[in-house]
């Protein structure tokens, strides 16, 4: 289980930095480092097992029905990557502590960094492809947050967006790819899939799966033609560049290729697609890097080039090349992270990253200079450094590769790339640290504090150690990792400095000679490059995303034009079409159940319903009349509920109707009294036809259902209500117990709706809207807006209504009532105070604000649900007991009651919030003085006559 914790600890630890940042930046960095160290220690506790050939696993089921489990495993590859991520993460944290300035929000930065770390460790340790995808997307998201960390900078925002679009888009392709792969292999567990390579390669899904997986891997690892996002991601703070964009995240694509190597590699398609893609990326990246003047830009393109190198090696598909790729992953991570950090130090201390303004820093900052030169030598592939060894292996492999019969293609292009690679390394080293000291640096460069160069030094140690003694230092790790990649016996190889005169050595020598010539002729080469047409990937990207945005907006506006009538028309017409198709393509007829006899009461109610509906149609232009007629419908429906023994529903219907009418009246106050004239007769006929057909359809449906004795679930509810939910009021038991989940979601929706009302009405509080409403309303205001009689009556009624509310709430589980109805009753009572005594008066006395009430309601309901976990039961399992009280009688004390309390609070809050916002709008339109006294007009006796009344 500790293996699972390795993944989870960074996520949990991400809460820590924002909390402890108040105790200072050092504490914050120590806490972050501690989290990483803990994860690393747990990982290392598995090291003996991994090195002895075991594969530790851990996990729990998550959604087993979907094939999703929270399972991790650490074979050599995963273990190596996880260790690399955590070790370099630790160094980056130390470095970032000194890199970030006082103004930067360090807590947030470290929180993002830990989130990224967790996601990345998740990617490399996942044993489940869906879990891997989840973590994969999370690395894209956290990378977005980290690139855009300096949110005020436009280039940071653009770079972050670009990275998210490219890697996120690739992630989408990867989802499809891995699902196809899982389909082909018949399992979602990676360990299973890895053992079924033959089966996958024989499957017809192999090629689409491969292409989609490659789309994900290539975008993530910045392979041509998706390489352009990486240089723009350099707008991130340098610790991020060093961590994400050289050492870890961009290697996720390479990791994925290595991970799936046993399954996907070894086919024609694999070699023909991946190897040239890697080769081209390696070449283009190296060529562009040479001409970059920005240190980080140079390193970014160099990273692109090296990623291409690894991709190409994996693409070759031979075990030997896979070993070389793994070895280069180790080497690149060390020297490139060191170089990025050095570039950050230079930027920090000299104030610029422009090579043309730098030079001679070796004298001014000897420590940094020495470390950077060592790392750069490794990047160039100078012997005695680790970069040399893996590059030799790469050249050796390239020398033996023949692509579609072209024997020279790979060796020649690889050598050219090596030429550029040596040249840009030299340019980096010479342009920054060597040469004469200048007098015009923006700052006065000097060596940074220990904390900043120490991580670099720690990274440079393996650069040299591996370079000198490759076998003893890196041998076991390479063997372990490569064995996991290949998934079979290791090829016969030797990590050694001297292999004799090999083709690779010759190619290396050619590269050094070519690079020397290139550096000497740099000005001429640069001039030549300036004359070549330039392709601005960023502009192209911006243009294409811009086109997408415009296209989406156009199609959206065409579909979504803001007219309710249109949406309703489309929805209802679709329903008619689908329903009509179902109706005409099946047999149907009246059911066999005899109808109930028509009583005079039922007939009267029916006629009232028909008249009211017809009335709404006739008077819909007059809004007030239409509203009153709609109320009739509500009352008749409530009566129908009563008739069919559903007092609970009747009570709910009545309360809802009252509340709705009140709120609508308040809203009508701010609207014109009549609706504008409708469109042409033809349009009205069309709308009428649609509405009529829909009505006929619904009537037919109701008739068909009501004349049949279908079996329904209600029988179960009726019998189980008492034994299962402990209440005899089936409706309430269904609401708070059987279907508590639904109710929980519904009150959340209700709360969101109230907040939406609040937000939507907010513009109506602003200048122009207020003036418009004011101009629209003819005002004949009563002088006493708060009449004495109404004020007194509502205040007398308030306690009575509250008692009724409490009564309805308490008895709700067994008799008609419950939290929802009680909430409505209490809301009505409170709303009446607002109406009678004025918003100002009532709001001043309302000590709890509506938003908190909604929040508390949802929280209480949720906590009640969670409380069931404490007893080992599923979410929202209820329990109950009985309580005897003298007044109310014996009533239930069920855990569902706490849930009902949540419902109650939410309903009250929602009503009050909607009302308050409407009142605020009304108040802005027509500010009337708030009443302090019980009524506005002074009573005769309260006015002292002598005080100046009758003069």
């Amino acid at each position: 289980m500790t293996l699972l914790l390795v993944v989870l600890i960074p996520f949990m630890g991400a809460l820590l930095p924002p909390l402890v940042i108040r105790s200072g930046r050092n504490t914050c960095a120590v806490a972050t480092g501690g989290v990483t160290l803990l994860a690393l220690a747990l990982l290392m506790s598995h090291a003996p097992a991994v090195f002895s050939g075991e594969v530790p696993k851990a996990g729990v089921d998550w959604v087993p029905a979907m094939g999703l489990s929270l399972s991790v495993f650490a074979d050599g590859l995963g273990f190596f990557f996880a260790a690399m991520i955590l070790v370099i993460g630790l160094l980056v944290i130390v470095y970032a502590r000194f890199y970030l300035s006082r103004e930067d929000p360090m807590g947030r930065f470290f929180a993002y960094l830990l989130l990224f770390q967790g996601s990345m460790v998740g990617v490399v340790l996942s044993d489940n492809v869906i879990l891997l995808l989840v973590f994969w997307e999370m690395t894209s998201l956290t990378s977005f947050l980290l690139i855009g960390f300096w949110t005020k900078r436009a280039d940071a925002r653009q770079g972050a967006r670009m990275a998210l679009v490219i890697t996120g888009g690739g992630g989408l392709a990867l989802i499809a790819g891995l699902l196809l792969l899982a389909q082909a292999a018949g399992s979602y567990q990676l360990t299973e899939i890895l053992s079924r390579g033959e089966m996958v390669r024989a499957s017809p899904l192999y090629l689409p799966a491969l292409l989609l997986v490659l789309a994900g891997a290539f975008t993530k690892s910045a392979q041509f033609p998706f390489h352009f996002w990486l240089p723009h991601a350099m707008a991130a703070p340098t610790p991020v560049s060093a961590y994400l964009h050289s050492a870890t995240m961009v290697k996720a694509g390479v990791f994925l290729l290595a991970r799936l190597w046993p399954v996907l590699a070894g086919t024609e398609a694999w070699f023909l697609i991946i190897a040239p893609a890697g080769l081209v990326t390696m070449l283009i990246g190296a060529a562009i890097a040479l001409f970059r003047n920005d240190l980080k830009g140079l390193l970014a393109y160099s990273t692109v080039s090296h990623l291409g190198l690894m991709t190409m090696l994996l693409g070759l598909g031979t075990p030997m090349a896979a070993v070389a790729a793994v070895f280069h992953v180790i080497n690149h991570a060390t020297f490139k992270a060191a170089l990025f950090m050095s570039a950050g130090i230079v930027d920090h201390e000299a104030g610029t990253r422009d090579i043309r303004r730098l030079g001679g820093l070796m004298v001014l900052m000897p420590v940094t200079g020495t470390l950077a030169l060592l790392a750069a030598a490794s990047m160039a592939g100078v012997p005695l450094f680790n970069g040399f060894l893996s590059k030799e292996m790469m050249l050796e492999e390239a020398a033996h590769t023949s692509y579609l019969g072209l024997d020279l293609l790979f060796p020649v292009l690889a050598t050219v790339a090596a030429v550029f690679s040596v040249a840009y390394s030299a340019r980096f080293a010479i342009g920054t640290f060597l040469g004469p000291v200048r007098g015009d640096y923006p700052h006065h460069p000097h060596d940074p504090p220990l904390g900043m160069w120490l991580p670099v030094a720690v990274l440079v140690v393996p650069v040299i150690a591996i370079g000198l003694f490759p076998g003893p230092v890196a041998g076991p790790l390479v063997a372990l990792t490569a064995a996991a990649v290949i998934g079979g016996p290791l090829p016969d190889y030797h990590l050694a400095l001297w292999h004799g005169i090999t083709p690779a050595l010759v190619m290396s020598l050619v590269a050094f000679a070519g690079a020397a010539a290139l550096i000497l002729a740099f000005r001429r080469a640069d001039a030549l490059r300036a004359r070549l047409p330039r392709i601005d990937a960023k502009a192209m990207f911006e243009a294409s995303t811009g086109m997408f945005v415009v296209g989406c907006r156009r199609s959206l506006v065409a579909l979504h034009d803001g007219a309710l009538a249109r949406y309703m028309g489309v929805t209802v017409a679709t329903l008619i079409a689908v329903g009509g198709y179902g109706f005409w393509s099946a047999t149907h007829g009246a059911g066999t159940r005899p109808p109930l006899p028509v009583t005079a009461t039922a007939l009267t109610a029916f006629l009232a319903l028909v008249l009211a509906s017809g009335g709404v149609l006739a008077f819909h232009g007059e809004r007030l009349t239409a509203l009153i007629l709609t109320g009739v419908v509500g009352v008749v429906v409530a009566l129908a509920f009563l008739q069919f023994s559903a007092p609970d529903l009747a009570l709910t219907q009545i309360s809802v109707d009252v509340v709705t009418t009140i709120l609508m009246l308040l809203a009508l106050n701010l609207l014109p009294k009549a609706t504008p004239r409708e469109q042409s007769l033809a349009v009205r006929w069309r709308d009428g036809t649609v509405a009529g057909l829909a009505g006929l359809g619904v009537a037919g449906l109701a008739y068909a259902v009501m004349t049949r004795n279908g079996t329904s679930i209600s029988e179960y509810y009726l019998t189980q209500s008492k034994p299962g939910g402990g209440g005899t009021n089936v409706v309430n038991v269904i609401l708070v117990d059987f279907r508590g989940y639904d109710t929980f979601a519904e009150i959340i929706v209700l709360g969101i709706a109230a907040l939406a009302i609040y937000a939507l009405l907010d513009p109506a509080l602003k200048g122009a809207a207020v003036r418009r409403i004011k101009a629209m309303l003819p005002r004949t205001e009563s002088r006493d807006a708060h009449p004495l009689l109404l004020v007194v009556a509502t205040r007398v009624l308030l306690p009575l209504s509250l008692v009724v509310g409490a009564y309805i709430f308490l008895r709700g589980h067994n008799e008609p009532g419950g939290g929802f109805i009680a909430g409505l009753v209490v809301a009505i009572a409170l709303i009446m105070q607002y109406i009678a005594s004025g918003y100002g008066w009532a709001a001043e006395r309302m000590k709890v604000d509506a938003q908190s009430m909604i929040g508390a309601g949802v929280a209480i309901a949720g906590l009640t649900g969670i409380a069931a976990f404490a007893f080992g039961r599923p979410f929202l399992t209820s329990t109950f007991g009985y309580l005897h009280s003298p007044v109310v009688g014996t009533f239930e004390l069920a855990s569902a009651m706490a849930f009902d309390l949540g419902v109650f609070l939410t309903v009250v809050g929602v009503m009050l919030l909607s009302l308050a916002q409407l009142s605020r709008v009304a108040h802005r339109v027509d500010p009337s003085p708030e009443s302090r006294e019980p009524m506005d007009v002074q009573l005769e006796r309260t006015v002292p006559r002598t005080a100046g009344g009758e003069s």
């Binding site: 009563s782 009449p787 109404l790 009556a793 009624l797 007009v937 009344g949």
Partner: protein
């Protein structure tokens, strides 16, 4: 059930029905708004009150326990009916501008609350 109680209940129901009818007729027949208001507020309230008392007596006797529902309904009704009548009248005073001249003097230094123009404030 004793005969006397039956008779009492019947009388109350009849009285209630009578007043409801009177209220409805008044609402339909009386000539103007202010007078029509009497029907549904006064007569009808009385009628419903009578019906409720009849119901209270019936269920109290029939079930042997005191029935409190009707009392509550009556209480709420008597609290709210005058208020709604009052509000309707105020709305009428405010909106029927041509009838304002017919309003009698309040007999107080201040005028009608709805329109209050503070005639007698001397300001």
């Amino acid at each position: 059930m004793p005969m006397l109680i039956d008779a009492l209940i019947a009388a109350l129901i009849l009285a209630g029905a009578f007043f409801l009818l009177v209220g409805a007729l008044g609402l339909a027949k009386l000539p103007d708004m202010m007078r029509r208001l009497h029907g549904p507020t006064k007569a009808t309230t009385l009628g419903i009150g009578a019906l409720l008392i009849a119901s209270m007596i019936y269920f109290s006797v029939a079930r042997g326990t005191f029935s409190i529902h009707e009392l509550l309904i009556t209480l709420f009704l008597f609290l709210t009916a005058p208020v709604s009548a009052h509000m309707l009248a105020k709305a009428h005073i405010l909106r029927a501008t041509q009838e304002r001249e017919q309003l009698p003097p309040t007999g107080q230094p201040s005028g009608w609350a709805t329109l209050d123009d503070r005639r007698s404030d001397g300001m």
